[in-house]
Symmetry: D2
Subunit: 338 residues, 4 copies
């Protein structure tokens, strides 16, 4: 930490701060400038509340130097993390497409969509079995039966299964049926759940909270990695802003930012990020052009009858056209859709 | 819903929308203006995704008329809800003070703070037993032992106990030791947890999510009430904005807004809402002046040694002075601290 | 407007609202549902303050149907507006690149950069002559001399000149030296300036205000068009959010949104939108992939010595590489850089 | 500035940064920790763009220590600034009420409102003569005639006149008729206008920009003070957030924050801050309870017929009741309405 004293801080005030810093376990470097004194607190403690210094008499500002995260950072691990699940590689120069309906509805729907994915060379099938709807009066998902249907369809067509865990109690089910466990935006801050997912050894797809900063998002990944589970894919899905024409504002710039700060792969969900089918194609292209390691896209055999989020699901033909465009854009960046 | 067609919408486009509305179970009222056609969809369905109409050809905009919540609304229940716990009444003209440390640390701390609260005529002791810290490297709370200590101190001094539940698995512990169960900001969107808390019969203190709109906050309360638990106290604790001098921006205007929309009591947490001790007093006064039904305040016998959030905890003397000021402000509004 | 009455609104309350609506010059359509009454106010007035109805007894909500803008909307003009300046076309399938330094510094700098632009087939030279710096202690621009230098360089290399107007008093200078007049983000809400720019006949490049909604941005364009100046290019440059790793959050999704709502061309400024050179390339690619009609990019012969915003200016070599990438991405969308 | 190097920064990288810092005119203090090197740049330059260092190889982060403002800060001037205009004092323990209609409409309206203000012991009459409406189709104000009417009414009833300047060209008019010149939220970032207002010697009422940070707001005040005009009253009027039930989110916590950072008086505008009459009273009380030095309130003899913002104007009786409440709350803080 760096502690900047006020211009008129007195010597006893400075001494008091020095003592407090020492009592917190740091070594102090003092630098007396012409206008003010600056104190450096040297040490590697990560759980310090800097406000305890800010409130001392004569202190103007306290600045943290140690980032709160470590394992996720590129300083800790220089090379890109590449997560291999079966034959699929996520990260590096690969562009992975994970697609499927918002919610699993019935056997026919899942089989149909899995077939469409296969025809488009997609690697992974996504679908919700437990649906955390904002309204208590809406469809809440098929539960375990939904997971069974996804597993069956994925096995038939050689796909991976990606599905969202809602609560600690569902982890065993997820371990049984799913290849990549998704943590939804609403649970990014659920440290209880993150801690438990750190104990298992399945890859995690961690969505950004709807108003999480990039640092908080990386800290959620750190929580999981601190438990020993290092296979994390980050997924940008839009943040809340004052703009209300779009459901969320998809933060495309988070992609190069994450790639500078962290070695973890980062993908984008343009479906939740925009909330409207006609915005999914341009934003999917933009994400790949910005360097994303992949996409999470909602597609439905018949969006008009979808039980949830049909409005943001692509029609199969639209999806097919999009895949072609994405291939061409990936080539510009010397990458390859898989 | 009201569906506004584009100025140049064709008759077949209008007919297509009419059919779609009917197929969703609504009756249609059509109004042809000079410039455009407006369709009214009459019916009381709450789980409709209006985007399914927005995407149809010729539709300019779709507006929901039915609010997504019902039980929490003042239209449903005109008079203020007053929640009685023991001899304490929350809501109406009462101003309740709930105070205590961020985290329960040990027996001595809890006993000391309970004594201080009693001396200040406070009704309820708050304290965290399970601490959902953003850093995996920080103090995580005493668990059940913390709840036992709070119960003992509260019983000795005639106080209520308020503590936060982090996960569905902790509900039985909460039912055993706690009088009012708190849902933290990070869990306001945890529908899994809300659903389970709808099944019990203890009062709930529901904090606003850090970027939740007022409507989403009321929907979270609706979730609990839909399960049959009607005793809910709403708690404003600051929202995330671009301003970063304060930890959050305490939305004082949410108080009169909630009081117009809902019959539920609404209190304010100026400690988390500002994150700094020196801002707690002015904001606590402001909340009461704006008409809040109470406050949730962090106070610690010795904030400098607190294991968490010491920087936003008041010293006992500051707390005492604040209570005096709040009494005087409450009188201006013809209310009474209890 | 649609006025939704409360469920328990009385007949006198409804009548009172009906009378008020009529007195505002509207015709009323009344629809009595099972639960509540809904009133439609038919007419085309644009300057109504709907809050005057919202505050009447028994009214739950008032919804505007008439959009506040007209001339900018795609309903008013179906086909894309293409603005031709000299031989350059902005809009439609053209992708225009406008580039140059943040501020004009001296003759040598401007000549050098104009040469670089020509080598990269760029159409327009941008540069600031009047610099509205946030600090009163920073470089404030060369004024008219800067405009003269830009004109000279542009004429030598066959480029257009784009520069920002800061105040009504500068309009005559702009008319004399500049081909496209830029309105900066801070002036998007300066209706005094917008009104005067509506009276001239030079194309306007209108940047989005740093916290303007898309609707407000379109209203600013409407202001200019209402004065008779129809040649407007919209420019997205990032909005303010809670995320502070990037200077602003570049709202790439505004591109498809604008293209649906309006016939005006929309370009993107990734330099101000991110504030850092290393984020400019990925975001420039993303903007073109999302369908932007062009880019506004800062490039400097020697960014390290730039008098302002050097950190977000590309090196000439980086700029050259970027142009190659953009050409390839534009081809995927069947567009062409010009 | 403090420059934090990456953990693995090499010695040549560190040397390169050291040279760059020196070339910017600073002295360098180097501190080699166990994990990383931290460089201190000592000097008092205010116009440095720290991004120029951030982009150098091996640099992790650069932190500014020197605040961008000086004259407005409490470090520069310890005691509260009290601005005296005629017999009215703004700042310190005085609570000033400035009230009146949104726009001056005609002679009768202004005279009536001035009489009402006098009956309520208000010090200053506010009213808009130039109205910067968001719609080009709405009422745009009476211009100079409006200022003449306000001056006449104010002189008759012994009040000050407060009115908003929209453009540099209006400054002479303002100097002629007005006692305190208001800068609206949309012009807070208009450095051209701020600079000109620094040259005159009338007190300025500076509203916070609708998405300005507190630091940017103080910088706008610094701009004016740097020109030699030291009489500035800051006015909080709500910031833009994702919450859309209220027009803006009134940031009450800005009051204690400003009072810590600056010696300038800070008042609050609950009328624009909420946009609805029924929210003005609670928020006005909250502002005074939080310690504001005054209020700017819209009141109209007949809000229903107001030409602008009638919905947020109080009725005369409501205003009278509010003044009584504010008096009582001011007493709790040992302050006095004037």
């Amino acid at each position: 930490m760096v502690i900047i004293m006020e211009d008129k801080a007195t010597e006893p005030e400075i001494q008091n701060v020095v003592e407090k810093i020492k009592s917190m376990g740091f070594t102090v470097h003092r630098s007396d400038g012409i206008q003010r004194t600056v104190l450096g607190a040297v040490g590697e403690k990560r759980d310090v509340d800097k406000r305890n210094l800010e409130l001392l008499q004569g202190v103007r500002e306290v600045i943290s130097i140690t980032k709160p995260y470590k394992l996720v950072s590129r300083e800790f691990k220089k090379d890109d993390t590449i997560i291999q699940v079966g034959t699929v590689k996520i990260g590096g120069d690969n562009v992975v497409i994970i697609a499927g309906p918002c919610a699993v509805e019935d056997r026919q729907q899942v089989m149909k969509i899995a077939e469409i994915l296969k025809q488009n060379s997609v690697s992974a099938l996504r679908g919700g079995a437990f649906k955390p709807r904002t309204s208590p009066y809406a469809f809440q998902g098929l539960g375990e039966h939904g997971l069974i249907l996804m597993r069956e369809a994925a096995d038939k067509y050689g796909l991976l299964v990606v599905s969202e865990v809602m609560d600690v109690s569902q982890i065993p089910l997820m371990e049984k049926y799913v290849d990549i466990i998704q943590i939804g935006a609403r649970n990014m801050h659920n440290f209880w759940l993150l801690r438990e997912l750190g104990k298992i050894r399945k890859p995690i797809l961690l969505k950004r909270g709807m108003s999480a900063t990039i640092e908080e998002w990386l800290m959620a990944a750190e929580y999981i990695m601190a438990g020993g589970n290092y296979q994390i894919v980050l997924c940008e899905r839009g943040i809340r802003t004052f703009e209300n024409y779009t459901r969320n504002t998809l933060d495309i710039s988070a992609i190069p930012v994450i790639q500078k700060l962290s070695h973890l792969p980062v993908i984008v969900d343009p479906s939740h990020g925009t909330g409207r089918r006609d915005k999914v194609r341009p934003m999917a292209r933009a994400a790949i052009a910005a360097g994303a390691h992949g996409l999470l896209i909602e597609v439905h055999p018949d969006p008009e009858t979808a039980l949830s989020d049909g409005a943001q699901s692509l029609y199969p033909e639209q999806f097919n056209q999009l895949i072609f465009e994405l291939n061409d854009i990936a080539k510009v960046l010397r990458k390859k859709i898989c």
